[in-house]
Amino acid sequence: MAVVILIDDDVDLIEANRAVLAARGFIVRTALNAVEARQCLAAGVPDLVVLDVMMETPTVGFDLAREIHKAAPKLPILMLTGLREAMDVPFQFGPDETWLPVTQFLEKPFSSSALAEKVANILKGGK
């Protein structure tokens, strides 16, 4: 069974996503900050990481993405962002191997089911 790590600083958003992913058969581990995320990853490399961009500071998510990618270059990262909405950026960010090595973005707000679909697709090798 595929293992997914959820990294987000809101206990309830984590719980919502955890419950739906678990119901679809994923093994879910959770982390509420960068420190917990590192411990979680050190305990074993998962099949996918779901990472919220905004945590304690606005850049923690970005830094963590680079860190994870460096440690496990093949590990897919799905990044959750509210950037377009928060900053009124009129375009969608694309993943960038050098600057921000994530596999895909998911714009907030989204439903936990949509997240689960996305996770399943990435793990199947699709987009």
Binding site: D10, D12, L13, A16, A19, S111, S112, S113
Partner: protein, 388 residues
């Protein structure tokens, strides 16, 4: 030192040089911005040249002769009107005129001239007019800067509020969607937990909105304050009674320590907000089996309310940040505890209204003690004149 650019428009070169000489070592003191303003003179011999220089040199003050060879002074003013609006009207025009007629004065004023200078004039007369114009320019700028700062602060505040409301909204929406889609499996406990958490987050949103209203009411000064002779000990006991269910639920003990009544002229609503915030923090950040001790006593020129808990406490660095708006100490121990981050900012603002203050002493892992001093309901800086 701030420097203002003066564009002098006159077809007589002697006149322009005279102006330059008169303003060379001249400085104007503007008390409100606490600084001197000096001048830099730019020349134009015609209206056409003046228009070009206004665009390229962006002067703040225009000394404009009415009688010019091509475009007249009034023509120049006419053409500047539109640009003035674009620039936010920060170009002040002083008309120079040899034949000061009422008609010219009216026409120039209609086109936005700020002042007049009749030819011939002495260097002192010129400086007088420039002094007045310079003060106007600097103060206008200052006012614009303050207005802009105020807009920024307001914008930031609203952004933070929006963010603080969006987070619980996203959580509640997420949970409700899962419940309605039944997408989290068949265990009813999972759904019950989601409902409970949704209620907790809604409660948090409501508290945030209430706190925001309290804060704006206090800050705007719109809320009518009604100081009456109040026994703070009774108010504290009444409040503690309201907290009883939560105190029991968290297996705490709440004790009120007051010897007899503690009278003070105060607004009951304000005292309740102060106590409510301190007591609810002492309960929220406590540990099962712990206690909350509320002491009310007379202090020099007023009263002192002390609320001690046996909770998680905080570090010195956390203490220092505590009374700001939207400050919440985030760590493993505070996770899952809801709060608006406004409560202590409100307590501090209210204490100020009583010429008092609020302080905290804390021991990480052992507990915190908040001390509020209230002197008089008459407002900041008044208690020395009206001792209690």
């Amino acid at each position: 030192m701030e420097s203002l650019r003066v564009l002098v428009v006159d077809d007589e070169v002697g006149m322009r040089l005279g102006v330059e000489r008169a303003l060379r070592d001249f400085a104007v003191r503007v008390a409100d911005v606490n600084g001197d303003v000096s001048f830099q003179v730019v020349h134009a011999g015609s209206g056409e040249e003046a228009l070009e220089l206004v665009a390229s040199q962006r002067p703040e003050i225009l000394l404009l002769d009415h009688k010019l060879p091509g475009l007249s002074g009034l023509d120049v003013l006419d053409r500047l009107t539109d640009r003035q609006i674009e620039r936010g009207g920060d170009l002040l025009t002083v008309m120079i005129t040899a034949y000061a007629t009422l008609e010219t004065a009216v026409a120039a004023t209609k086109r936005g001239a700020y002042d007049f200078l009749a030819k011939p004039f002495t260097p002192e007369e010129l400086r007088g007019v420039i002094r007045k114009a310079a003060r106007h320019v600097v103060l206008q700028r200052q006012a614009r800067r303050l207005a802009e700062e105020k807009r920024q602060v307001r914008f930031q505040f609203i952004s933070v509020v929006a963010h603080e409301l969006k987070a619980p909204l996203a959580a509640i929406e997420g949970f409700l969607r899962i419940i309605s889609e039944h997408s989290a499996g068949d265990d009813p406990a999972v759904y019950n937990h989601m409902l409970e958490r949704s209620l907790v987050r809604l409660e948090g949103m409501r508290k945030l909105i209430e706190d925001l209203l309290d804060l704006t009411r206090i800050e705007s000064g719109r809320k009518k304050r009604e100081p009456t002779d109040l026994d703070l000990a009774t108010v504290a006991r009444d409040m503690a009674e309201g907290f009883a269910p939560r105190v029991a639920e968290s297996q705490l003990q709440m004790r009120i320590h007051a010897i007899g009544p503690l009278m003070m002229k105060a607004d009951r609503g304000e005292i309740e907000i102060i106590l409510n915030n301190l007591l609810s923090n002492a309960v929220k950040y406590n540990r099962p089996g712990g206690s909350v001790d509320v002491r009310l006593e007379r202090a020099d020129h007023g009263v002192c309310i002390t609320v001690s808990d046996t909770g998680i406490g905080m570090t010195g660095e956390e203490e220092a940040r505590l009374f700001g708006e939207f400050v919440r100490i985030k760590n493993e121990k505070t996770r899952g505890i809801a709060g608006s981050g406004l409560g202590l900012a409100i307590v501090k603002k209210l204490a100020t209204l009583y010429d008092g203050n609020v302080a905290v002493r804390s021991n990480p892992g052992r507990g915190s003690t908040f001390t509020v001093t209230l002197r008089t309901a008459d407002g900041p800086g008044t208690s020395s004149r009206t001792p209690a």
